[in-house]
Amino acid sequence: MWPVAAITFLEGIRSRVLYGIFIFACSVILLSFVFAHFFMQDIGKVAVDFNLAALSLAGLLMSLSISVDLIGKDLDKKTIYFVLSKPISRNAYILGKYSGILLISLMAYLIIALLTCFALMLLQSFHADYFKNFAWLPYMQAVFLDYIKISLFNALILFFGSFSTSSFLNMMFSLCIYIAGQSYSDVIRFLSVQHHGEQISPVVHYVIQTSKYIVPNFELFDMKILAAHGRLMAFSDLIPIMGYGFAYIALLVGLSMIIFRKKEFL
């Protein structure tokens, strides 16, 4: 499994797309200096929110550009024959690929998080009065949970990649689920309020309720508001969220392994 993880990691760090994403993330972090000044009273909160958003967006773009191709490219270019001709089980291949992408995103998150910390420290030194509520621990907690979110998103991409041979379809499926997972609690809240006495169709209600159990709730991992207010999430709240994330990842990686085990490479 580790040789697969190692070459997946090498693929990631040698990808030009990754450098593009880094430049993009740096630009957004720099922009946070400008935008934060538009909200002088809330400069601390806006800066934290902006930097965490930049980190999250960079993680998302990285997953969509690198992870979607991980298995698809091996199948498309037939590199899979070379890899699986070695005494590597298909399960080890899936685990290796996933571990590799986790390592790439961990490295990227550490670098971008370090850059955001640097940006926040600079802003804090210039506007100490507006950073009274700011605390590093909640910020780091938000970064950590965002990393779990992106790991879950990568597991979703891996799952679609295990049966879809098209990278484009994989990207579309994953992105749709991500958008649904980011916003369905808003949809449920909206639908639960009756508008002018109109009833929601039972079919819509059923679809929404079912999707609640199928679509991973990405919104759970969004700690931007808490971090912006310098509030640390209680350990008793943090553990179930982490457990939810890890359980979903285990389920998706497990399903990917089962599907991939039965796959034929003609």
Binding site: W2, P3, V4, A6, I7, L10, E11, R14, S15, K77, K78, T79, I80, Y81, F82, V83, L84, S85, K86, P87, I88, E264, F265, L266
Partner: protein
Amino acid sequence: MMNTPEKLLQLDGLCKSIRTKTLRAKNIPVLQDISFDVQMGDIVGIIGVNGAGKSTLLKTIMGFLAPSSGNIELASGVRIGYLPENPYYYDYLTLKELLWFAARASGMSSAAFQETFPEIVRRVGLSGKKSGRLRTFSKGMTQRAGLAAAIIHNPDLVILDEPMSGLDPIGRKLFFDLILDLKIMGKTILFCSHILTDVERLCDHVLVMHQGRIQEHIHKTDLEMTGHLQVLLEPSQQASDWLASLPPAMHVLPEKNGFHCLLSDLDRILKEFTQKHIRIESMEAPKQSLEDLFWQITRSAETGGV
């Protein structure tokens, strides 16, 4: 588990069908009742026209495709090296990284890899390209890098899928010599190729495939001597009369004023010639080429004969 320790690979009644991806899906048989075995030290070649099922057979042996029925048995502990057809490797890797992956994935330690690496790149003639990215390699170099990746862990059985396809004559010669080296080292090799002269020179056994079946299993000795002599006679009335009196089973060659006969019949025929004053112009034991045999077999399979 197989009983004979020398038998590395055994296929028994292997069949494979592929389901079409159309609205009215149906199963197309691509391999039918394939049975053969590969003994330790054998060089077995698989030949056949395009679409005969050669690559599918190798992919099924490698486990990339699941057999629809039948058995594939590998002797326990056999290490396999595989070179796919038109291989594509991670082109962002250097040759050293590719071979590191191949070695580590095959269970070699880092120390063993460091020891083997210089020797293996020397053998495939890529010593000067150790740190070169694979994306800068020509097709021939990629093919040799692929062979190095296939054999770095010293496999017992080497499976090569069209190893010389698309190579220029120099590349082909280099690759041919590499396979010959493996043969000299006593490796067991199973490979498919379109280049019949190479197969003929390298292989101990040749399997001729046609429409997913093994039509013929040819042993090297079958190619060396067919058991028939071609005898041409000096033109004379006696010779013409004698040829005209021969039964059709004797394979008369009227346009050449000669005939084919079995070696065992030669003594009797020579005595007869002495009595009838028939003079022999030439006599030879023609070697039947693999190409001739291949044509005969495929033509016979297409016309429904055996």
